[in-house]
Each structure stands twice: as structure tokens, then as C-alpha cells.
């Protein structure tokens, strides 16, 4: 049972994470930022899953409120906002990697999306650091595969 000081459904860290991440759309937006280098509302709209405009706007607001994303002004176009991941958002990289590994194993038609991991020849911790660094430098991790 949640304690008096805890606004979440329970004191379980897994439950907390699930409450923070909400439904699958939130993690797909974070995937787009971390792996595809997307940063704007318009870029998120183009992803294959076809997120609806109202859902996208809502999830961007929620993720910003929860400290997982940060909204910044666009450098050159003041009609747009840029969404970047915070440190809290970067810490989601291992969760995304495990979701990707599980999906590729159990639905082989998606496995090409995971094949680049093997190509890096990095151990798990090195892989997480490589991805984190690519996000901080504003480039796609795929640009550095094989370095």
C-alpha cells in the first residue's frame, strides 16, 4: 500500500516507473529522441506508428512535467519547440535496449531493428554509454556503429 507521503499507487519501484512512463506512446517518443535524433513535434508525427496529434501533444506535456523531457526554444524557427531528454530520460536507455532485445527475439520480423547492436561489438555498459554520448552530442548512435 502507498505510504502517506507517496502519491503513487504503491511503494514498488517498478510501479513507479510504469506510472511515470504511462502508455506505450511515451516510450516511443523517447525512442525517437534517443535513437533517431528527433526533436520536434513535426518529426515525432512522422514516425511509422502514426501517433495521433492530440496524443502526441499530451504525452510531450506529460513527459516534460515529469522531468523526462525538457522543452527548449528552436535555434532558428521560433514557431517550433525542441524536446530533449534530461538525465532522467537518458537513464531510460537500458529499458529501451531490453525492450528492443525482447521484441527482436520474440518477433523475428522486427529483428533487423536490433541487428546494429551486435555490430557494435560493445558490452552492455559500453553500449549504454555510446548511446548516451550520441544523444548528448546531438547525433544518431547509428552514425558511430562500427567505430
Amino acid at each position: 500500500m502507498a505510504s502517506e507521503n507517496n502519491p503513487y499507487r504503491s511503494d514498488c519501484p517498478i510501479n513507479y516507473s510504469l506510472e511515470m512512463l504511462g502508455d506505450s506512446w511515451s516510450l516511443l517518443i523517447i525512442r525517437d529522441i534517443i535513437f533517431a535524433g528527433k526533436r520536434t513535434y513535426g518529426e515525432f508525427l512522422t514516425s511509422d506508428e502514426g501517433i495521433a496529434r492530440n496524443i502526441l501533444a499530451n504525452r510531450l506535456q506529460q513527459l516534460t512535467c515529469k522531468g523526462i523531457l525538457e522543452k527548449k526554444p528552436h535555434h532558428t524557427d521560433n514557431r517550433k519547440d525542441l524536446y530533449v531528454v534530461t538525465d532522467k530520460g537518458l537513464d531510460l536507455i537500458p529499458i529501451l535496449l531490453e525492450l528492443s532485445a525482447w521484441g527482436a527475439k520474440h518477433e523475428p520480423s522486427t529483428s533487423h531493428g536490433q541487428s546494429w547492436v551486435a555490430e557494435t561489438n560493445l558490452d552492455r555498459e559500453q553500449l549504454v554509454q555510446r548511446i548516451r554520448q550520441s544523444v548528448l552530442e546531438g547525433r544518431s548512435v547509428f552514425d558511430s556503429v562500427g567505430d
Copy 2:
């Protein structure tokens, strides 16, 4: 875009996993089986998060259809069903561990739920194997912490 042979929203393995796992209730049920050794509808109902009866029944059915859980007759009470995780479900252990680690780091009030991991003194792969073995043997992993 999803290919003709792919019934999912896209070819991305992360998206596949999120579609399979559905909302947070599914992962909480799997958590209860893997970490708490729960196996019946009545046991899942007692968890702190307070899952509603209709949601629980729906998620048990979905997880069974998706090959993540398997429904078996109860050994001694034919009014009850037992739900056990399949190999596909056991492969979710690393995802649950990462969700737990992220939650404990970013919401310290939940960190006691993660403290047993440090006590095991196991590396990550050993920890996954220890948990998997405990589930297969029908006991809680907490029984073996410190072995």
C-alpha cells in the same frame, strides 16, 4: 511503416514489445508472478496497486493469448486457475529489473524495493538466472538472497 506480413504498428522491436505488453497492468501482473510467486486471480487482486477485477481478467486473458502466460488447472481446487509465465514471459526479467532500477533511482521512496539486488552480490546475468531459476522452482527469489 509496417510491412504487409506484419500486423504491428511498425517493424520496430521496441514497438512490438510495447504492443505485446499493453499498459502497465500487464507488467505488474508479470512482476507479481516473477517476484512475489503469485499464481491465482485472487492473489493478483490483493496487490497494493488495487487492480480492478475486470481489468485483471482482461489482462490475464490477453497475456495468455500472447503466449506470455499459460493457464493451468489448480492442483487441489478446481474452481481456480493457475497462471504461470512461459519462456517468453521469463525473458521479461531484464525489462523488469531495469524498470525497478530506474524507479528506485528516480523516486527514492521506492528504493527499498530494489535494495535486495545489491545484497545478492551477483552480476547482472547471474541475477537474471537466479530469478529465472526461482520462478521455475515455484519459490520467491527473496528466499535465496544471501545464499
